[in-house]
C-alpha cells in the first residue's frame, strides 16, 4: 500500500531553514495520514510513503517494487539532482528531500526532527547526512522519477 505526502516547498528558503520548512510540512502530513488511516493500518509495515515537494512525477511501478525495509530511505538517484556537487549528503541541500520513499514509521520519525532545526538560525549544522545518521537511517538510491519529468 502506497500513501502520499505532497507539500509545496518555500523556494525562498535555503539550507537549514529550507529543511525545517520541508520537514515540518511533511510531519503535519504524517499526522494527518495517521488521522486518515489509523494506527492499525499504519503499524502493519506494508505501508510505503511516497513524499514529494515538487511537480516531478514518480513511476509508481518502480516505487512499489522497492524493498522499503525498516530504517531505509530511498532517494532518486543522486546524479539527477546533484551532478554538480561533490558530496550532496554532507550539505544542507534541501533538494535531496524533494522526492523520497520510505516506510511510514521512518517517515514519521524523520520528519519529527523539524523541531531540532532552529528556524532562521542560519547555522548549517543540520545536513542531510547528519539527520539520517542521527536517526540510524540507511540511504538507498533508485531511479523512481520519470526521466522526462
Amino acid at each position: 500500500m502506497i500513501i502520499y505526502s505532497n507539500i509545496t516547498r518555500d523556494t525562498t528558503l535555503t539550507g537549514t531553514d529550507a529543511l525545517h520548512d520541508i520537514f515540518k510540512k511533511h510531519w503535519i502530513n504524517a499526522v494527518k495520514l495517521y488521522e486518515q488511516h489509523g494506527y492499525d493500518i499504519l503499524s502493519a509495515r506494508n505501508v510505503t510513503v511516497y513524499a514529494s515537494s515538487n511537480t516531478e512525477s514518480a513511476d509508481m511501478n518502480v516505487v512499489s517494487g522497492l524493498l522499503v525495509d525498516y530504517d531505509v530511505i530511498y532517494f532518486n538517484h543522486m546524479m539527477h539532482h546533484h551532478q554538480h556537487e561533490d558530496a550532496p549528503m554532507l550539505s544542507a541541500n534541501a533538494q535531496s528531500f524533494d522526492n523520497f520513499v520510505c516506510e511510514y514509521s521512518v517517515f514519521f520519525k524523520l520528519m519529527s526532527n523539524w523541531r531540532e532545526m532552529t528556524f532562521g538560525s542560519g547555522v548549517q549544522f543540520w545536513t542531510v547526512g547528519r539527520i539520517l545518521e542521527y536517526q540510524n537511517i540507511m540511504v538507498r538510491q533508485s531511479d523512481f522519477l520519470k526521466v522526462d519529468a
Partner: protein, 365 residues
C-alpha cells in the same frame, strides 16, 4: 517556559477507575500550566502478565460506553480504543509480546501529535503513563506539595540552562525515565539499558521519535502481514523494559533519571530479591488492595507489597494480625478523644471503618 503539558495514558484500563484520583492529583499544579489528557486503551482487559491471575479466562471484554464514561474523569482531548479483533490480528507470534504495550503507547502519543497539528501548537512536556498505577506524589500530604509545581519551576529555572550537564548534549529529544538497576554489581545488568514503563516523560520530539519506533515494533514482532526483516527478532521474548531501552538507544533519545526533588521514592525489592531503583509508582493488580482511598499512603504501601510479592496482600500471614492491631489502636484513639477533638475522632472512626472493611472482606473470602 512550560505552558502546556500532555499526558498520554495507555494500555488496558484494569484498575483504572480506582487509581484515577491518584493520577489526577499527581498532574495538578498551582502554576496555571495547562494539562491535557489523551487516552489510548483497549476494549478488553487481559491478564497475561499477571502471574497470580494466570487463569484460563485471560481476556474479559469491556462495555465501550461504560469504558468511555470511566475515561471521562480525565476529560481527555482524544480517545482511541483498540478492539480485541484488531489486537488479535496483530497477535501472530506471541500472545505476551510487548508489542501490545508499544502499540498502546504509540497510539496515545499519536493522539497528542494529532491534537498538536489540529491546534497549531506544541506541548512543552509530554508524560506517558498507565491507568492502573498509584503515584507516590499523588498521595495525600499535609499541604498540597505538588510534584508538577516542583518540576515546572525546576524546568523553567534550571533545566533549560543545565541540559548539557544532564545529557551531555542540547538535543531537543530529551527524556526522563526510571532506569531499572537490577542486581547491582552484576556487570551484565549494568550494561543493559532497561527502563520502567509505568511513567516517563520528555519533549514532544522525543515522544514522536518514540512513537515512530513503537509503531515499528508493534508490527515487527507479531503482525501476520509483516514479511520484512525483523528489527529485533528476540524482542518478543523479552519484556517491555528492554524495549524501552532499545527505542531510546535506536532513536538517539537522550535519557536521564527522573528528577525527584525532595520527594523520594521507594527502594523496591521484588520477590526474587532484585532491586528496582528509586521509583514513585506502583501498579494496582486486579487482586490489589483497594479498600483504601487511592490517594492514601496505606493504599500505596500495601500495593507495593503486593507488587513485590506477586500475591494478594490478604495472603500475607502478618496482614490479618496487623489489621487487628490497627483496629485496636483506632479504638483506643477513639476512646481517648473527647468533644474538643471531634475532628480527630472522626478521622479515627473513618480509619477504623476502612480497616474493619478490609478485615471483613478477607473473612468473607
Amino acid at each position: 517556559m512550560i505552558k502546556n503539558i500532555a499526558v498520554c495514558l495507555y494500555g488496558r484500563f484494569g484498575t483504572g477507575e480506582y487509581c484515577a484520583p491518584s493520577i489526577l492529583k499527581f498532574f495538578k499544579n498551582t502554576l496555571g500550566v495547562n494539562v491535557d489528557f489523551f487516552c489510548a486503551t483497549k476494549d478488553y482487559d487481559n491478564y497475561y502478565t499477571t502471574h497470580y491471575e494466570s487463569t484460563p479466562d485471560k481476556i474479559k471484554r469491556l462495555d465501550i460506553s461504560d469504558l468511555t464514561n470511566k475515561l471521562s474523569v480525565y476529560n481527555p482531548k482524544d480517545i482511541a480504543i483498540t478492539t480485541l479483533e484488531e489486537d488479535e490480528r496483530r497477535r501472530g507470534v506471541h500472545p505476551q509480546s510487548s508489542g501490545h504495550m508499544f502499540s498502546q503507547m504509540g497510539n496515545s502519543i499519536m493522539l497528542k501529535s494529532k491534537y498538536e497539528v489540529n491546534n497549531d501548537m506544541q506541548y512543552d512536556v509530554v508524560f506517558v503513563t498507565r491507568y492502573d498505577i498509584l503515584i507516590k506524589h499523588g498521595i495525600e500530604t499535609t499541604t498540597d506539595n505538588f510534584y508538577l509545581d516542583h518540576y515546572i519551576a525546576w524546568h523553567n529555572n534550571e533545566f533549560i540552562n543545565k541540559q548539557y550537564d544532564l545529557f551531555s548534549n542540547i538535543s531537543k529529544a530529551w527524556m526522563f525515565s526510571h532506569k531499572m538497576g537490577k542486581n547491582p554489581g552484576n556487570l551484565s545488568e549494568v550494561f543493559r539499558n532497561i527502563y520502567q514503563d509505568m511513567l516517563f516523560f520528555g519533549s514532544s520530539l522525543a515522544m514522536d521519535l518514540f512513537a515512530a519506533n513503537a509503531l515499528l515494533i508493534t508490527s515487527d514482532q507479531h503482525h501476520k502481514t509483516n514479511k520484512k526483516t525483523h528489527i529485533y527478532p528476540d524482542l518478543y521474548r523479552r519484556d517491555g523494559h528492554e524495549g524501552l531501552g532499545y527505542i531510546f538507544r535506536k532513536s538517539n533519545i537522550s535519557v536521564s533519571i527522573c528528577p525527584s526533588f525532595d520527594l523520594n521514592g521507594i527502594m523496591m525489592y521484588t520477590i526474587d530479591n532484585r532491586i528496582q531503583n528509586n521509583i514513585w509508582y506502583v501498579p494496582v493488580r486486579a487482586f490489589g488492595e483497594m479498600n483504601f482511598a487511592a490517594t492514601s499512603t496505606e493504599a500505596f504501601n500495601r500495593n507495593c507489597w503486593i507488587w513485590s510479592n506477586s500475591v494478594p496482600y490478604t495472603e500475607c500471614p502478618a496482614y490479618i494480625e496487623e489489621l487487628q492491631t490497627l483496629i485496636a489502636t483506632c479504638e483506643q484513639d477513639i476512646a481517648l478523644c473527647n468533644t474538643s477533638t471531634a475532628i480527630a475522632k472522626k478521622a479515627h472512626i473513618e480509619a477504623k471503618d476502612a480497616l474493619a472493611s478490609a478485615l471483613a472482606k478477607i473473612n468473607k473470602d
